[in-house]
């Protein structure tokens, strides 16, 4: 075989290995979710098995249903994403393109707030929310989620806003648009893609949040990330059900990842090359 061919095969082998390492755990979990508990614990591992929907039935309709948790996740993630984008986009515009006193300082400030370790913040959050009775509430949790979403969203959007040529506002102002209409009619349409990507990231982060959810949530508001622990206790691990629950919990996020894959990669690169970011 030619040297080039050997090289190609080696490269493909590496690529295949990568594929396996990264994709396999998820596929394994998917397979496990269709097995019976007995099949799961069988050794040697069973590859051909009789698939069952029992796990999913239990996880959706049964006593350990995670439907209320899915609902919590949906409400909190959607609400916090919406609020975040509403506040972040105008702020990012100002930071990126307008001149005002304290511009540099406010930029540093936004960057600095991303550096705060969440563990440090939950202690005061817990104490304050407890005092005002906002623990285990949708509004409390949504508001707290803004903490990590906002700086991240602002920073991503700033780099998208910076890509629009500066003459756009000037042309719009000369066309008698005024600042607000210049933003609405001329600038925002040009960062539509950036807004979409940022929204995806903010939603992903919010959906996957665990620490804030477990400390500041409770019995009423319990996102799906916390509910995973329902299937693990000191006595036993309900393997197959855990797998089914996890697949369900991660389904939205995986779907978004698969469909928006190109945009996510672009967003990662933009965020990495031009500024800070949580992910």
């Amino acid at each position: 075989m030619s040297r080039g061919a050997i090289r190609r095969i080696a490269l493909w082998a590496v690529a295949g290995m990568l594929l396996a390492v990264w994709a396999f755990p998820v596929i394994w979990a998917l397979l496990t979710s269709f097995k019976t508990e007995r099949d799961v614990l069988a050794y040697p591992p069973v590859w051909l098995f009789k698939p069952t929907l029992d796990n999913y039935r239990e996880v959706i309709f049964g006593t350990s249903s995670i439907l209320p948790n899915l609902w919590s996740s949906i409400v909190v993630a959607t609400a916090s994403t919406f609020l975040t984008m509403l506040i972040a986009v105008p702020a990012a515009y100002a930071l990126a393109r307008l001149n005002y006193p304290g511009r540099k300082a406010s930029g540093f400030y936004v960057l600095a707030t991303q550096m705060l370790p969440p563990v440090g913040l939950i202690i005061p959050y817990y104490l304050v929310l407890q005092k005002i009775g906002a623990l285990d509430t949708y509004s409390g949790l949504t508001a707290i989620y803004l903490t990590f979403s906002l700086p991240f969203a602002i920073w991503l959007m700033v780099s998208y806003f910076e890509d629009v040529p500066y003459e756009m506002e000037e042309a719009a102002l000369l066309d008698r648009a005024g600042r607000l209409r210049a933003l609405w009619y001329v600038i925002l349409p040009q960062v539509r893609g950036g807004i979409a990507v940022t929204t995806v990231f903010v939603f992903l982060n919010a959906w996957n949040e665990f620490l804030f959810a477990v400390v500041l949530g409770g019995n009423r508001v319990r996102p799906v990330t916390v509910a995973m622990f329902n299937f693990i206790s000191v006595e036993q691990t309900q393997w197959a059900r855990l797998a089914a629950g996890a697949m369900l919990a991660m389904a939205p996020v995986i779907l978004i990842g698969l469909f928006a894959q190109r945009h996510i990669v672009k967003g990662l690169t933009v965020g990495a090359v031009k500024g800070g970011g949580r992910r």
Partner: protein
């Protein structure tokens, strides 16, 4: 809007300022409320003794918590673990990510599939990843890794229960989840490097290794630095995956500072000391990010 009568002195600059501050105000307000104010509260709490388990002992404690930390072996252990954890995961991610990116760059047709595969670990919730690994991958007897080691004749091990192996396992989990990030970013960066520089180097008879050291690395340096910084931040605040996989244990074998602060505050209910630990973590994060940003801007 439309035509507005210009007030004397109502210059373009002034209007711009007002507009900017109006747009920025909500964000600044929220941030002040949710980050700066709590920070002061945290500092205040760290000066207290708040023991929810033994409320009669609560009260102002000054710098007691901090001096206690100096003599607390568990604290030093967590600090050490934090350094090991952060350092090794970041180095592994960058080295593996960069190598893979370089390799994959040469098989353009495979890149599409690999990008999809790479996305999966990144979009999963860290807590789910921790649970996956704890149950499906690292379980003695039934986990994937154990199956492989048994097949290879290396026997079965308690990957998360053995203090020595636990740290390695936890590092592996974090690396598994976040290497794709480094991989994707570096792949995209490498793909945009100008080909003519390489052609010139070839004409100058530079070997592949020399081309890597003298052209690829310097050109990719900004992206690599940014990846390092971002990954460091994530590693310092990593919580969910370790919590799900080991809870900080066995004992304190995987109890990075993050987790120590959490356990102290919410498991042992010693909020004052927990707050002090969190303050130290914060200081650590700020110092490291300061240096990293300076490093990035230098040269």
């Amino acid at each position: 809007m439309g035509v507005s009568v210009p007030r004397p002195g109502d210059t373009l600059a002034r209007q711009e300022r007002r507009f900017a501050l109006a747009l920025l105000a909500p964000a600044l307000l929220v941030l002040l409320l949710t980050t700066t104010a709590p920070l002061f509260y945290l500092a205040w709490t760290s000066l207290q003794r708040i023991d929810l388990g033994m409320p009669w002992l609560s009260g102002f404690a000054g710098l007691d918590n901090y001096s206690k930390m100096g003599a607390d072996p568990r604290f030093w252990n967590s600090l050490w673990l934090t350094f090991v954890y952060t350092g090794s995961t970041v180095v592994l991610q960058v080295v593996i990510g960069l190598s893979l990116a370089l390799l994959v760059l040469q098989i353009p047709r495979g890149q599409g599939v690999l990008r999809v595969a790479a996305i999966l670990p990144i979009v999963l919730a860290p807590v789910v990843v921790g649970l996956f690994w704890r149950t499906l991958v690292l379980s003695p007897e039934f986990g994937l890794v154990d199956l492989v080691t048994r097949a290879l004749g290396l026997g079965s091990h308690n990957w998360l229960g053995d203090p020595q192996l636990a740290l390695i396992s936890v590092i592996a989990i974090h690396t598994w989840q976040w290497t794709p990030f480094a991989f994707l970013v570096l792949l995209a960066t490498l793909a945009t490097l100008p080909p003519d520089v390489y052609e010139a180097a070839r004409l100058d008879r530079a070997s592949a290794w020399q081309r890597f050291i003298h052209i690829t690395l310097p050109l990719a340096r900004p992206a690599i630095m940014m990846v390092v910084i971002l990954r460091m931040m994530t590693a310092l605040s990593a919580f969910a995956a370790i919590f799900a996989a080991t809870g900080g244990g066995p004992g304190s074998a995987t109890e990075i500072l993050n987790l120590y602060a959490y356990r102290t505050s919410f498991t042992e209910l010693n909020l004052g000391y927990g707050a002090a630990l969190a303050m130290v973590l914060l200081a650590l994060t700020l110092v490291i990010s300061y240096f990293m940003f300076r490093l990035r801007r230098a040269r």
